[in-house]
């Protein structure tokens, strides 16, 4: 009898060893279950501490801040230190398929939320995110918590449960997640908090040798190499008002994760997750006042002291820089390390003082102070593992300059570009923000925060900034239709205070009867922008633009407080709208095996709802465009008078998400669109999704120019031309897609809309009708006017008379070079005019008119058949070819050998020996101008751009039966 019992005895022994004491409590489908308080070892005490939990009622004010998105129905967890918002299950945001994630997280009383969201997942794929189906608010005997239960999004047999609990006095929220594998399959599990930063936002900091803000770049195939085990992660946006966030594991002394400007992930190390296995993960999500990360790191070390008995010491000191004012006109950052491992990064207070914690194990403290993004001081101090006052850290002296701008003789809002005047200065001052984003020369401030951002300063009256030693030029323009104010070669050093006055005059370039408009701009309500509303509206004013569609990603913002503060309501017309930006990948094409999103679409007007989810915009995930249009209409978009715009219609992916409908759908421009839906991308254009009130084709306009660089103009216009040739008429727009002072110059490019409404008596319906009808040109400087008789560009076909001529007039500010005018007929450039006036003085105000000419239609259009004409003006376009055979230019002569082939493709090192390449690019741009050239001068206020303007089409219905398309 003994032998048969042995296996069972072994089994019981084994069961005990596996079970441990902390088993899952809420994975059996019982909604009444309760998870225990996470992180029981953490203990905070204080006087007057309290905690609360409540559901936001209709009209109840939610915690504020630049990233605040809390809406009625969301749950607020708060105490005397912090306020946390858990989004309602039916208000999911960004990458989470349902609510139940941390949506907002701010310091009590500060209204400084700058979080996108933190959600729970077990991997990178959409199906590996938590899909919560029940939410329970727990407010019982002093326990304030929220508990959410559900499954993984793609695995209904994998239950997951999370408890968020807040206690008095604590600088954050305790979190416990339970998960078990009820599938028969072994999976790879990385149970993680995904901190979605969204880019141009918080930068993550992890203490590890060579780490800090330095993190390896990675792709899907190399992500494993980006994992590091670290004691904590903290992230800050480095500019006020901002909050620092972080996480400390309560289960293990280190956590594993990867960091990027888009997302940070932290959790237990990835491991196989066999069938029937489970895991519990407890951690503390913390928040502290920013900027930088030292506040968060202080809390992380405090928590580790409670959890692992790790002692810390406090380092204090002061930073001074003769000639500059730390924290006022000059920003400094201090990194404290043990020599190999940076432990914290501090932005000193306005008076230069600072205080931060480091582990008590440090004997010799490494101290590195950065100013303007460059190391200004590097030293060590023997602290012997004790609290230490470092005294005063004196940086090399810096210069200061006072900048002022007058526009038509009056001080006004302006954007000033500070540019090194010589190569030596450029080389010495060029730097990045802790290695992230593009370099700035000089780095006056964080590129995507408020002013100064990168090398750009918003001024309204005299404004003083600090500058590193060197020679600088200062430029400013009041949009593209003014003179260019310039003061050049100003020597800045610590010994001399300089002042610069830039005098700008508006010019009669913009035609009468027009309003300028930018229909694609972002501010801090967008997940990928952190420019404060006040600076965003200052940038609106500096651009001298008339109409702006505020089109934040997946959210509506009316900028009302900033507009009121600046008294801007009489100067600009703001139309509230939104840019739908898909985050959740899904399959919508039968001819493509990987999940995608449908690109970006803009809608206006959408009423701003200050307490509603997405602030009035629609939930936009996992639907085809036609259903998206329907949902936006249901949410409040006025489709009758409003506009629906297809943005940047060709391109790639960002953070693995398609940002271009044309590319996501895989439109082959060498083939006609399919009228009948067969599941293929080519048939998606006209498809009406089930239950939708619109087809995918029911948009009004598409972007032809996007961004100040115009880098994808050839591709955008290729789709536009392709559709025109098939008789599919959509207006072409030109928008800045500005996200900050650095990422595209607001209003460059812009639309010049021919409309009967005016700023004094603005009528949105009239304005939008003209936009929908294509009564506009797109431009970043030149104005190109085209007409045939009395007919001007637009989507109304007309029948030309015999002997009609095309009349072309081109004008531009003197600093905007216009080298050629191209006449495009049915998608082909049939005439190029190069004998244009060249201004004698780019900084003057003369030579605005560049060309006035006529061309007989008979020289331009085919002998018969409908035709369309678009006229372009600006710099000659670079040669590019279509190497993947989809009808869209994709690759330039990048090796300058005179031919465009596989050798020009950046990612190819050998001939793939196929006619059509799978990998292409990059597109070639017009050549880089030499310093001082007219094109270089243009780029001083239009970084990396080249002059360009285009008309909407003149549609020639030559047989009088309507415009039915044309043949190239």
């Amino acid at each position: 009898m003994t032998r048969p019992l042995l296996p069972f005895l072994a089994l019981f022994s084994l069961t005990g060893s596996l079970t441990g004491c902390d088993t899952p409590k809420c994975l059996d489908g019982d909604d009444s279950c309760l998870m225990p308080t996470p992180c029981p070892e953490v203990t905070y005490t204080c006087d007057g501490g309290y905690s609360e939990v409540y559901t936001l009622a209709d009209g109840q004010t939610a915690p504020g801040g630049m990233g605040a998105l809390a809406a009625t129905g969301d749950v607020v967890l708060g105490n005397d230190k912090v306020v946390v918002v858990i989004d309602a299950l039916d208000h999911p945001h960004f990458i989470a398929p349902t609510g139940g994630a941390v949506l907002d997280f701010s310091i009590r009383g500060q209204d400084n939320d700058s979080l996108r969201h933190i959600f729970t997942a077990t991997g990178l794929l959409p199906e590996e995110a938590a899909h919560y189906t029940s939410l329970r608010v727990i407010d019982d005997n002093g326990t304030t918590a929220v508990q959410v239960l559900g499954t993984l999004d793609g695995y209904p047999d994998i239950p997951i449960a999370t408890r968020y609990e807040i206690r008095p006095c604590e600088p954050g929220v305790r979190v416990r997640t339970e998960i078990a594998n009820g599938t028969p399959d072994a999976l790879s599990m990385y149970l993680t908090d995904a901190f979605y930063w969204g880019d141009r936002n918080s930068l993550a900091f992890t203490p590890r040798p060579g780490g800090g803000f330095n993190h390896p770049e990675f792709g899907l195939s190399t992500i494993t190499d980006a994992f590091f085990d670290v004691p904590y992660m903290v992230a800050g946006m480095h500019s006020a008002p901002g909050t620092t966030y972080g996480v400390v594991s309560c289960d293990a002394e280190t956590e594993s994760g990867f960091q990027s400007v888009y997302v940070s992930a932290m959790g237990p190390p990835p491991r196989p997750f066999p069938s029937k296995d489970w895991q519990v993960y407890e951690r503390f999500l913390l928040a502290s006042n920013g900027p930088s990360v030292s506040g968060g790191a202080d809390i992380a070390l405090e928590l580790r002291n409670m959890l692992w008995d790790e002692a810390f010491v406090t380092i204090t000191g002061k930073v001074e820089a003769p000639g500059g004012h730390i924290g006022d006109t000059m920003r400094a950052a201090i990194t404290l390390s043990d020599g190999d491992t940076p432990w914290t990064n501090i932005v000193p207070n306005a008076d230069g003082t600072f205080s931060a914690r480091v582990p008590a194990t440090i004997q010799d403290l490494g101290i590195e102070v950065e100013a303007f993004g460059q190391v200004a001081l590097s030293t060590t101090a023997n602290i012997g593992g004790k609290d230490t006052d470092l005294g005063t850290l004196t940086l090399p002296a810096v210069g200061e300059v006072s900048i002022n701008v007058t526009i038509d003789g009056e001080e006004d809002h302006a954007l000033v570009f500070v540019i090194p005047a010589d190569d030596a200065t450029e080389e010495s001052v060029s730097s990045t923000t802790f290695g992230a984003w593009e370099p700035c020369a000089p780095l006056l401030g964080l590129p995507h925060g408020g002013s100064p951002g990168c090398n750009r300063v918003l001024v309204d009256g005299e404004t003083t900034i600090a500058l590193p030693d060197g020679n600088y030029d200062f430029y400013s323009a009041a949009g593209p239709f003014s003179t260019l104010g310039a003061v050049t070669n100003v020597h800045i050093d610590a010994s001399t205070a300089q002042s610069v006055l830039l005098e700008v005059a508006t010019l009669p370039v913009e035609p009468d009867g027009t309003l300028s408009g930018d229909f694609h701009v972002h501010g801090s309500a967008s997940f990928d922008s952190e420019i404060p509303d006040l600076d965003r509206v200052k940038a609106f004013l500096a651009s001298r633009i008339d109409v702006i569609a505020t089109t934040d990603h997946d959210s509506v913002n009316d900028y009302a407080a900033a507009v009121a503060e600046l008294g801007a309501d009489e100067r600009i017309e703001l139309i509230t709208g939104s840019e739908s930006t898909g985050h959740l990948l899904f399959h919508f094409r039968d001819d493509y095996s990987f999940p995608q999103v449908i690109g970006h679409w803009i809608f206006w007007p959408i009423p701003y709802d200050p307490t509603g989810p997405y602030r009035g915009s629609a939930y936009d995930e996992k639907v085809e465009p036609g259903m998206l249009f329907t949902k936006e209409q249901e949410a409040g978009w006025d489709a009758d008078i409003g506009v629906n715009q297809l943005n940047h219609p060709f391109g790639g992916t960002q953070f693995g998400r398609d940002y271009s409908w044309g590319t996501a759908a895989g439109f082959d421009l060498t083939e006609p669109l399919k009228a009948e839906y067969d599941g293929t991308g080519q048939s998606l254009f006209f498809h009406t999704p089930d239950g939708a009130a619109f087809s995918n084709a029911d948009y009004d306009v598409q972007e032809v120019m996007n961004g100040s660089k115009n880098e994808n103009y050839l591709q955008y216009r290729a789709l536009w031309f392709y559709l025109l040739n098939q008789g599919i008429l959509r207006g072409g727009t030109a928008n800045s897609d500005s996200h900050s002072l650095t990422e595209n110059v607001l209003g460059t490019p812009r639309n010049v809309v021919f409309t009967s409404t005016t700023m004094d008596d603005f009528d949105l319906a009239t304005f939008d009708a003209d936009v929908r009808s294509g009564h506009m040109i797109g431009t970043n400087g030149p104005i190109v006017l085209a007409r045939i008789g009395t007919h001007t560009p637009g989507l109304e076909p007309f029948t030309p008379a015999d002997g009609d001529v095309l009349t072309i007039d081109v004008s531009a500010a003197p600093w905007v070079p216009v080298d050629e005018v191209r006449v495009v007929v049915n998608g082909v450039v049939v005439k190029t005019i190069t004998d244009l006036v060249v201004p004698a003085d780019p900084f003057g105000s003369d030579d605005i008119a560049r060309l006035s000419t006529t061309v007989p239609l008979s020289e331009l259009v085919p002998a018969s058949g409908d035709a369309w004409i678009v006229v372009e003006a600006g710099t000659a376009l670079a040669d590019n070819a279509d190497l993947d055979c989809n009808g869209t230019p994709d690759t330039g002569d990048n090796n300058n050998d005179g031919t465009i082939d596989w050798r020009d493709v950046a990612e190819l090192t050998e001939d793939p020996e196929v006619d059509c390449l799978d990998t292409t690019g990059p597109l070639a741009e017009p050549p880089e101008p030499e310093r001082g050239d007219p094109d270089w001068i243009f780029r001083t206020v239009t970084p990396s751009g080249y002059p360009l303007s285009f008309t909407n089409p003149l549609l020639l219905d030559r047989d009088g039966n309507g415009f039915t398309g044309s043949t190239p």
Partner: protein, 257 residues
């Protein structure tokens, strides 16, 4: 033709018999052993792979297993299988792998009917959750039981079949995730000599992971080395059903005592 005794008694060397022993469920759950009790020890090196590019998922599983059986009589046996080494690599956007001991199976069987040329036996085993390093917190406790029969019209041919019920549940404090199903196997062995045989099997599973778990084909080549040793190379290829494994194979060495 050689003298005919019975299917079990005719083979006295180390060659294996019965259906293909490679299973696709941990611990070879649902796989019946030969109806012929033997005393032997052996070692098996096996592997299986899943490759699903479209799902960004793959799995490579490698095992090293010690096996032994003890014939209690001409009709009954006990057996033990110890998966001493298990390497489980999950290929995903964030991949992971584990290495450690695998599952342990303890089983028994006895013949119910032995009328030449037909034999019918009842078998069962328990698969113990001993993959300590890979099953970090919760692990499966599994068992199967069923009938296995063989019919040997000649000494060169044996037709075999089995029906096994199987069940598993989790131990370790988490959800139980109970799971039960049935496996049917029909196959045959061709034994041109007593030192060599070829076995083929068709196997179908129901209800354990889905309505149709798997329809698979198995093949094995078995040989005797001397009087005691045996070598078998066996492979299984799923053809239909929910099973995600692309194919599995194992090489087995036996020493018959």
């Amino acid at each position: 033709m050689m003298p005919y005794a019975s299917a079990c008694e005719a083979v006295e060397n180390g060659i294996a018999s019965g259906e293909v022993q490679l299973g696709l469920v941990d611990g070879d759950l649902g796989i019946a052993r030969s109806v012929c009790p033997t005393t032997r020890v052996g070692f098996t090196a096996g592997g299986a792979a899943i490759i699903e590019t479209e799902n960004l998922y793959g799995r490579i599983l490698g095992t090293g297993t010690l096996k032994g059986s003890l014939a209690l009589s001409k009709r009954s046996e006990l057996y033990l299988s110890i998966e001493g080494l298990r390497y489980d690599s999950i290929i995903a956007p964030i991949s992971s792998s584990g290495l450690g001991p695998g599952y342990t199976a303890v089983g028994a069987g006895t013949q119910l009917v032995n009328h030449e040329p037909m034999t019918l036996a009842v078998q069962g085993k328990v698969v113990l959750p001993t993959a300590f390093t890979i099953d970090t917190h919760g692990a499966p406790l599994a068992m199967d039981a069923g009938l296995v029969g063989s019919w040997s019209p000649t000494v060169h041919w044996t037709v075999h079949g089995s029906v096994m019920g199987m069940y598993s549940m989790a131990v370790g404090g988490g959800p139980l995730f109970p799971r039960g199903g049935v496996t049917l196997d029909v196959g045959g062995e061709w034994r041109p000599t007593f030192g060599f045989s070829v076995v083929v099997d068709g196997r179908t599973g129901f209800l354990y992971t889905d309505a149709l778990d798997v329809v698979s084909a198995g093949i094995g080549i078995r040989g005797a080395i001397g009087h005691h040793a045996g070598l078998a190379l066996e492979a299984v290829k799923p053809l239909a059903g929910r099973e995600r494994t692309l194919a599995g194979a194992e090489l087995r060495f036996d020493w018959r005592i």
